[in-house]
């Protein structure tokens, strides 16, 4: 139903297309002026567990349209032959050893509970 830009970017990386998003999209979607329809904003709201008023929806639509337009600008760049960046820092293999370093954290954790019962968070009935 919705195909946000991040989905496109990532699916290219996943398919091993060397991150050549520009190849895929340039020419097809350079035209500015994305439109987000009512159905899409409704769906994004459901996914984000947000109930938006009509006014908020219109504002969110405009924001999202701007974002998509900006992605088009990025897509104009020629990224042919450039390795996809999987992380912003040139660092890898940061690990910890499998050693217990935390004790009973229940009081600190439960201090964040909006509603607490004994030693647990109490939430509206949810079937797992």
């Amino acid at each position: 139903m919705i195909n946000l830009m991040n989905v496109k970017l990532i699916s290219n990386e996943m398919n091993g297309n060397d991150g050549n998003v520009s190849n895929d999209l340039t020419g097809k979607e350079v035209s500015m002026g994305h439109r987000i329809d009512d159905e899409t904003i409704e769906y994004v709201g459901i996914l984000a567990k947000l109930s938006l008023t009509g006014q908020e929806k219109e504002k969110a639509k405009a924001d999202m349209e701007k974002m998509l337009d900006y992605i088009d600008t990025l897509n104009e760049l020629d990224t042919q032959g450039i390795e996809p960046m999987s992380h912003v820092f040139p660092v890898n293999n940061v690990f910890r050893d499998d050693v217990i370093s935390n004790g009973d954290g229940s009081e600190e954790t439960l201090a964040n509970a909006p509603l607490r019962k004994n030693n647990e968070f109490e939430v509206p009935k949810t079937i797992g």
């Binding site: 990532i10 996943m14 459901i46 293999n93 217990i100 370093s101 954790t109 109490e122 509206p124 797992g128």
Partner: protein, 478 residues
């Protein structure tokens, strides 16, 4: 003639890894702690907390990948899977979608229809969620985050299975491989191994797959078999009535033997995955893979082959003994001490399994030491104790791991071979039971059994049964 249908099944198997700590924080993974005691800002998704990957998780995942013939991904990384649920405090699960740690493996399974390969599509690392319990009193749900952040490996098969038998054989194979590696205890009931079943049906000979459903909440081998049969029937009925199977997630209720569709909004497969920015990529070189490979223990299939060559025990016994690594270890360690594989196998196959059943003990929970079982076997072999006493002593070993040499001495359980003592006891039995003596003399051979019993009773069960019988016969016949 009615149409013939084929069932097509793929599995997603989740395995909880046997690490001491969680995947991204130093909280304990120990089972059964009081609610929320094993939690910290990382595993409860507090803003500003930073996950750091537990290296042992990667080591275990690699061990499983290698043992299932997977290709290891040289550079892998984590992604966020976004969804809202009270057991998921971050509102996303850290998982691997785009670059899972391993792909394209397989295991071989054996069923009545022969040996077959089940391909593994991919395998990835991820974190477990918390636990929700329904509170009857308030009609609310209670959340315990002790399991939140416990490391999991999810193994996704190709749709290569065609029956419940094949599914069970595949799971059993995975369980044995992973248990032997020590990467997980794989207990279905406790949830350290879980399976989601993707199932569709198609007419035999059809080249394309039917629409599949995904079934969750299967926590025993029996439940899996029942759920597969029920879902196959349900889908065939829909098709026969001219309807269409809907792609959906269904929850199996094993008590009602019925599955029902989960609410479609929960089922929205739009998890909006994106790369996890708080964790850096994992680069796995040949040297790392080689280190794991060379530390790989002997797996079940290899062990079974070796048992056939090395030990003179029935193949059936070898299969049962190697079904649990712990049991196989016990067998080998005991045999190494007493050099009597047949006797060791017998004690494990008969008395040990009997007591395990009686006491509800799992193989992994056995406490007795191999040296004590070996000593007991020697005591029985050199006739220091008779077989009845040996069984009693074994029960003490099974329950308390006592030293049989000391125990037999202290309790005075050694067999009475002393003919004089036996004769005294036999005479007593004869004088106290004239009726049995008369019966015997009138040709009732069976009456001797009662007299043997009475003599043994006087000897506190320690008489050498052969000698007891001999003495009684000679006394009665003269």
């Amino acid at each position: 003639m009615s149409k013939q249908y084929e069932t097509v099944i793929g599995l997603e198997v989740h395995v909880e890894l046997a690490t001491k700590t969680k995947i991204f924080c130093g909280c304990s993974t120990e089972f059964g702690g009081a609610p929320n005691t094993h939690t910290c800002p990382v595993c409860t998704g507090m803003p500003g907390s930073l996950p750091v990957l537990n290296k042992q998780v990667v080591d275990y995942a690699l061990a499983i990948a290698i043992a299932t013939q997977c290709e290891v991904t040289p550079v892998c990384k984590f992604d966020r899977k976004n969804y809202f649920y009270p057991d998921n405090p971050q509102n996303y699960q850290i998982s691997q979608l785009y670059l899972p740690i391993a792909r394209n493996g397989f295991v071989e399974i054996e069923t009545n229809s022969g040996i077959k390969k089940v391909r593994i599509h991919e395998m990835h690392m991820e974190e477990d969620a918390g636990k929700l319990i329904h509170d009857e009193w308030d009609d609310t749900s209670l959340v315990d985050f002790n399991r939140s952040g416990v490391p999991l490996v999810e193994i996704v098969s190709e749709p290569d299975m065609r029956s419940a038998d094949e599914v069970l054989a595949y799971m059993e194979k995975l369980r044995l491989i992973i248990q032997y590696l020590g990467a997980s205890d794989c207990k279905l009931q406790e949830g350290s191994m879980r399976a989601d079943v993707n199932l569709s049906v198609r007419e035999v000979g059809s080249p394309s797959f039917g629409t599949r459903t995904e079934m969750k909440n299967l926590n025993s081998f029996k439940a899996i078999a029942r759920a597969i049969e029920a879902e196959r029937q349900r889908q065939i009925e829909i098709i026969e009535e001219g309807g269409e199977v809907i792609q959906e997630t269904r929850r199996w209720d094993d008590n009602k033997e019925y599955s029902y569709a989960m609410r479609s909004k929960e089922d929205a497969k739009d998890y909006r995955y994106f790369p996890e920015p708080d964790l850096v990529p994992i680069v796995i070189g040949e040297d790392w893979i080689e280190r794991i490979r060379s530390a790989q223990p002997e797996l079940r299939t290899e062990k079974l082959m070796r048992y056939k060559k090395e030990f003179d025990i029935p193949e059936y016994d070898a299969k049962i003994l190697t079904e649990s690594k712990h049991m196989a270890d016990l067998f080998e360690a005991t045999t190494a001490i007493c050099h009597k594989p047949k006797k060791v196998s017998n004690w494990l196959m008969v008395e040990t399994f009997r007591l395990m059943k009686e006491t509800g003990t799992e193989c992994e929970e056995l406490i007795f030491s191999p040296s004590h079982l070996a000593d007991l076997i020697n005591l029985a072999e050199n006739k220091t104790i008779n077989s009845t006493v040996a069984k009693e002593v074994f029960e003490k070993i099974f329950r308390e791991d006592i030293d049989p040499n000391i125990y037999v001495k202290e309790m005075g359980l050694a067999t009475v071979n002393d003919e004089e003592a036996i004769e005294k006891a036999a005479k007593q039995a004869i004088s106290e039971n004239p009726k049995s003596v008369e019966d015997y003399k009138n040709g009732k051979e069976k009456a001797i059994g009662f007299l043997v019993g009475q003599t043994m009773k006087t000897l506190k069960g320690q008489g050498n049964p052969g000698i007891v019988k001999e003495v009684l016969y000679s006394l009665l016949n003269n």
